[in-house]
Homo-oligomer: 151 residues x 6
Amino acid sequence: MGNLEKDGVSLGKAAVLLVLHTGGAETALQDRSVACGYKVYKGKVGSMDSAKIFAAITTAAKREGLINDRYREEHALYHSILEAYHGICRGQDGLGNVMRSAGLLFSIVRGPRLPNDAADGEWIAIALYGSMGAPIKGFEHEVLGLGINPV
Amino acid sequence: MGNLEKDGVSLGKAAVLLVLHTGGAETALQDRSVACGYKVYKGKVGSMDSAKIFAAITTAAKREGLINDRYREEHALYHSILEAYHGICRGQDGLGNVMRSAGLLFSIVRGPRLPNDAADGEWIAIALYGSMGAPIKGFEHEVLGLGINPV
Amino acid sequence: MGNLEKDGVSLGKAAVLLVLHTGGAETALQDRSVACGYKVYKGKVGSMDSAKIFAAITTAAKREGLINDRYREEHALYHSILEAYHGICRGQDGLGNVMRSAGLLFSIVRGPRLPNDAADGEWIAIALYGSMGAPIKGFEHEVLGLGINPV
Amino acid sequence: MGNLEKDGVSLGKAAVLLVLHTGGAETALQDRSVACGYKVYKGKVGSMDSAKIFAAITTAAKREGLINDRYREEHALYHSILEAYHGICRGQDGLGNVMRSAGLLFSIVRGPRLPNDAADGEWIAIALYGSMGAPIKGFEHEVLGLGINPV
Amino acid sequence: MGNLEKDGVSLGKAAVLLVLHTGGAETALQDRSVACGYKVYKGKVGSMDSAKIFAAITTAAKREGLINDRYREEHALYHSILEAYHGICRGQDGLGNVMRSAGLLFSIVRGPRLPNDAADGEWIAIALYGSMGAPIKGFEHEVLGLGINPV
Amino acid sequence: MGNLEKDGVSLGKAAVLLVLHTGGAETALQDRSVACGYKVYKGKVGSMDSAKIFAAITTAAKREGLINDRYREEHALYHSILEAYHGICRGQDGLGNVMRSAGLLFSIVRGPRLPNDAADGEWIAIALYGSMGAPIKGFEHEVLGLGINPV
């Protein structure tokens, strides 16, 4: 784990750090991720309508070339989003239907599970981080979700 | 967000970074967290029996003085663990009953939601990070969960 | 609703009041329930093992003649217990697996949905009431669940 | 439990009895609740849109002064509503999306968990009671949910 | 099981085979089902709005005389649809809210659980079969759900 | 769909028919599946302990060469079992913990989603069929679940 701790970063950790870091730390992490063999993307989405979260991430993943146009890639992406979405919902799935709203950053990271380790093929990780709460400014707290699937 | 980005860190972000960082980055984060008015603890638990995860965190929180001995504090801690547990289970709660195992680091962070902001009282954040999968070495991927409640 | 409020009581309300009332109020309710055409039973069960709750109620219902020995009656009873159990678990099913315990009173009420109204046949209502919490005395709060199915 | 049974009533029981009782029994219960140190409110909401249930209760709690304008109070209220909502949904969250409708009475009760017992601070209980079913008159049965959190 | 295998078919198996078979096999199965004492119906529904699935099946069941106009029959049908719907959703209930769509065949089969066995009364089985996925042609895979309740 | 209906069968349909058919129909289906490019296996498992269902299917899939020894194949199999398991549980996951037992046939089918269509790679389908109910002979009804993932 020595070199990994200094230079490398695992796929899921890269996805989570990417939604948490800003400024120079974010840029450094992106470089480190690329050096590990990962493709990365970071975006933003906010809504009371959960479908918009799925749509924003799916659109970005296709546009940025993080998945190709085969269904099996879209399926892996979809299930990673769904798992991250479970993480931010914490047991009660839904946003507007239970009168809450989410303002989120998302990351998409594709590559091996461990840095430069091609033995088990490619995986796709989705991290969601932001705040969820009543549709009133400041009445919200942080949420985070992570989903990973082979692609 | 300027100073916050440089010096401060929000409660949930502190909890998540604490389970992700190791070595010098971990020590630096702990110092930064204390400067924000947070009490922090980091521990380790692995099991196919989900109750052991709840027990390990609850025991640590009491022993380290992160909650006092009133039921309302224990209740806030319990629900934060439960929410983080949902995050790592991603839609299907359970470990051994669905033949999977978890090896986890956990963090407990208590303090204001934003650094040194006493206006909304104290909150407690639990982050869980590690790997989940088949009870076979290497057949597992990363999972992460975060739960936050007022205490 | 006039006479109903004074003399009658609907099936679900009878089941819930039966687990809530004690002493004279309980006796009065039992008489009132019988006058409405209901068969009633009240018992007690406490456990960290959810199966014991199902077993205690099923055994009582059979022994007291609240269901007969056909599968369709047992099926209606089972689903009423399951629905009441959802009510006390509030979104996260499980007891010992998420390190909590329940001490419960249960009621079984069988009859028409409305007092002496045979038009829609017989239904079975299960109410569960008690406290759930950490396995520490006093570290628990009240929970209540109600399930109703045609029998 | 002697005096408690005659004069006092626990927080959750008060919330449930309040949605069940009408007329003189309701008035008597309200007096008894106030004597126990509780603030109480009872209202009505019906919808196929679950968000309206959350909105009606939240609006009433604020208007009637049962919660103040800090987020931690709103958070406690929200989670109590969510838990009561799980109770009426019984394992499948949703109303209109699974083609069913709810006509409900709700109660909000705030105070100590046990009558006049200040040792563990204040808690908030939400009870929901009414009928759920197909959007056809009479094609519905009783449902009940209870949620309690420290505030 | 000998004659049963040749001539008879159990209620749930009849419902599932009915949504899977087409052409001559479907006609043969319908004849075989009627000989077993079952009433059967097969229809089609596609939507991103889950309520439309419930509505289509309920409407068909009433129009075709598979349930009468009492609430207890409607209740049994509803819960059978709900259980089949869980089967096609596989752990995350919802369609449009998680950005997916379903194109389904459904069957309704009413009768004894086993062919011509009146001992345990009538039951109702609902099977759903089709494809679910992104709202893009070909980006979908097969799903199947089955729900059974006494009627 | 003409030739497909006569000669071919889609992946999920093959999995479901395999658990439903017996005798000559089962043999014919196996031949037809092999002609479509599928590998198939059918087994049996019964338990009140859900982990045994996962274990039985995983063991069979490895022993029969339906998955290789890479984690990504095991992951696809696991999620297909989990989805089929949701189908038989219908909204309340668990067996012994909610006092019910399952006696099941299972099928594993691996290949293209449509017969001899290599364009979208290989997928794995798991079907579960049998009876679930009280641990009393005859007090049980049919259940069916299907899960499909790219492998």
